[in-house]
Symmetry: C2
Subunit: 432 residues, 2 copies
Amino acid sequence: MNYDVAIGMLGCGTVGSGVARLLQEKQNLYAQRVQAVPGLARVLVRDLARERPGIPAELLTLDPADVLEDPEIQIVIEVMGGIEPAREYILQALRAGKHVVTANKALIARHGLELFEAAAESGVALHFEAAVAGGIPIIQTLKRSLVANQVDAIYGIINGTTNYILSAMTEAGSDFQAVLREAQAQGFAESDPTDDIEGFDAAYKLAILAGLIFDQRIDMQQIHRVGIQRISAEDIAYARRFGYVIKLLAIARRTEHGMEARVNPTMIPQDHPLASVNGVYNALLVNGDAVGELMFYGRGAGQMPTASSIVGDVLNLVAELDAPPNVLMSSPLPATAAVLSPAERVMNRYYIRLQTHDKPGVLGQIGALLGQEEISIHTLVQTKNNPGEAELVLISHPVSELRLRQAVAQIRQLESVREIDSIIRVEDFRFH
Amino acid sequence: MNYDVAIGMLGCGTVGSGVARLLQEKQNLYAQRVQAVPGLARVLVRDLARERPGIPAELLTLDPADVLEDPEIQIVIEVMGGIEPAREYILQALRAGKHVVTANKALIARHGLELFEAAAESGVALHFEAAVAGGIPIIQTLKRSLVANQVDAIYGIINGTTNYILSAMTEAGSDFQAVLREAQAQGFAESDPTDDIEGFDAAYKLAILAGLIFDQRIDMQQIHRVGIQRISAEDIAYARRFGYVIKLLAIARRTEHGMEARVNPTMIPQDHPLASVNGVYNALLVNGDAVGELMFYGRGAGQMPTASSIVGDVLNLVAELDAPPNVLMSSPLPATAAVLSPAERVMNRYYIRLQTHDKPGVLGQIGALLGQEEISIHTLVQTKNNPGEAELVLISHPVSELRLRQAVAQIRQLESVREIDSIIRVEDFRFH
């Protein structure tokens, strides 16, 4: 393969193969678009024997130095995943004056500071479009296209596995465990699904997004994170009854109490644009103070959508190899992490589902405890499940999480209350 | 006002005032983001006496030379609109080595070749993000973020006036003329609404988009254009009955018959993401061969969304003033226009509504004429409106426009047919 710009790649799994395929099949198109011919020069793999269609065997190597120390290689693509040795290799590449393109959200979220500092010191770029929302070009959009705005809020469906599970639960009325097993069988969920269903994956992506819109460094530990593992078929059915669907939302926004970043299952109105984002699709609702509301929708994962973002980053770099690093695309992060608003102060409406003994006065007791915390009720439904028992479902008016927790703690003490099954945030999408 | 990068502005109407407001109010934020302080140095206006809050009177001038010949001014923003003298001023600015940012879709669509050539000769940039879909960053997305893709199709709702009218007709069941008058009263439609309702505005924007995705120059005359002025409340009611809504779609796509670019009212499935884009919102569905389906949604017009795109272009320029023009952002257009697939060859399903005399055999006659052109019927509804008369509504399977026209011409000749009211394309969103 002939090329003007030599590219090295670390890893060659599903996404890496997609990247190699694009660079090979579209070489002529790309050459015309960036007026230089980019080509893969070396690919670090773990197994030389495995067949890799379209990648000449002589490009493969087991030795990272063949990529990281080759002075010809100007751009390194990291698609091996995981923290180590990816972190170490990327640092080496940056320090050797190579631009780096990565899809590694965990690495950027947890070690971004160190990596961006190394890039700045060497005067090279570290691009990561594919790390958030796969094929949706949200990173470049925030950094470049929306640069005239202060972005006040991002609401994202940015984890395909949980969105697939919640969509399937909503469609079929099935329970979480059944749908999870089915998703695993179909390859939409990992055999160890913790990272997805407990919201870690979404939190990594949110840390990156929140860092960009707040112009601050966001510590993963600061992100309030609730997974979907406790969402039941009953909750989804009640949501529908009240005109909502349940989505795992990643939210970063400026509020009167400060900056907020959290990932949690959220009831959103059925007619909201995010409500119809189903299956493995991702979507991001962005509110900029000049542009207003924007929504971006597309495939958040998968071989070719991810490769589209990675090769997009590569071609953008090739197009400006002779220019100094663009200030909009570099990310000088402050050394100290941002201070986010504590979750307790965040105002939300809440959905609460609880089981009570069917005795006179239960409703009055609960109402009184809510009243003490100045929580007023927007919607209330009481149904009998079994003799002597009743299910109570309510949606509150906006209340701080602190007050809600206090009220719930007291309700839990009531003799007439058997169990509090679910507490789920309800989102109104008020931006200001 | 102090600044490092002097900006001149041609025109200062609604959008221009928004641009001035952003540049002034957010100067500190922008300075931090692009590490240079951009500021308005001179503003060409038609009336010096008019009060312009936030713009110092000494910046205003009646003489274009004060902007175009000031060697200090590095970037010129054109927001005067119209073809002349905007074209002449932009050419002067480009030839004087100034970068230009414009929101002028008609000018780019009709004189893009000349303007981009002038920019290339002077080694400066001509940016036009605001010219298509207002605040939605579609131009930079296509040029930069999706550069790894061949874009196979764009389906756009890119005219707010017609979308407002069709949305209002759909909601209220009202007639076109009534809604148009209301839209005019509320400022959502011009007193002369021709440009919007007959699809010229959408066609200008589509010419720009099609040029980008086909890497070809698109002649406005080649774009097949049908407006919304003949859409009736009856058509909208039937559309709903069959599970569709009617939108004015701008479509550019690669087909087996060649490249296609057209603007026409289209029935789209109610559950399609574009179907719920209502009012003055715009949306673009983009299909890239690597990334798959993407959708972008936001405000397609208005003071601050448009200003967001213009100032975004300006800040992107400021960030790379010292670099050579980026090859991805320049648009070397071929001198000869692209050859688009003739409308006759385009395959579509069609909705046809016609009035007949209620006599035996009418249906058989029509069916026979359709059959001669190998047009098969997907859905058929016959209703009686008045004694002796019947309304016939059908939706066909896919057929070339040529065959459809031939069949319709023959049906029109039938004695039993009183009138053919409507022929509307039905879109299935099959990409390949």
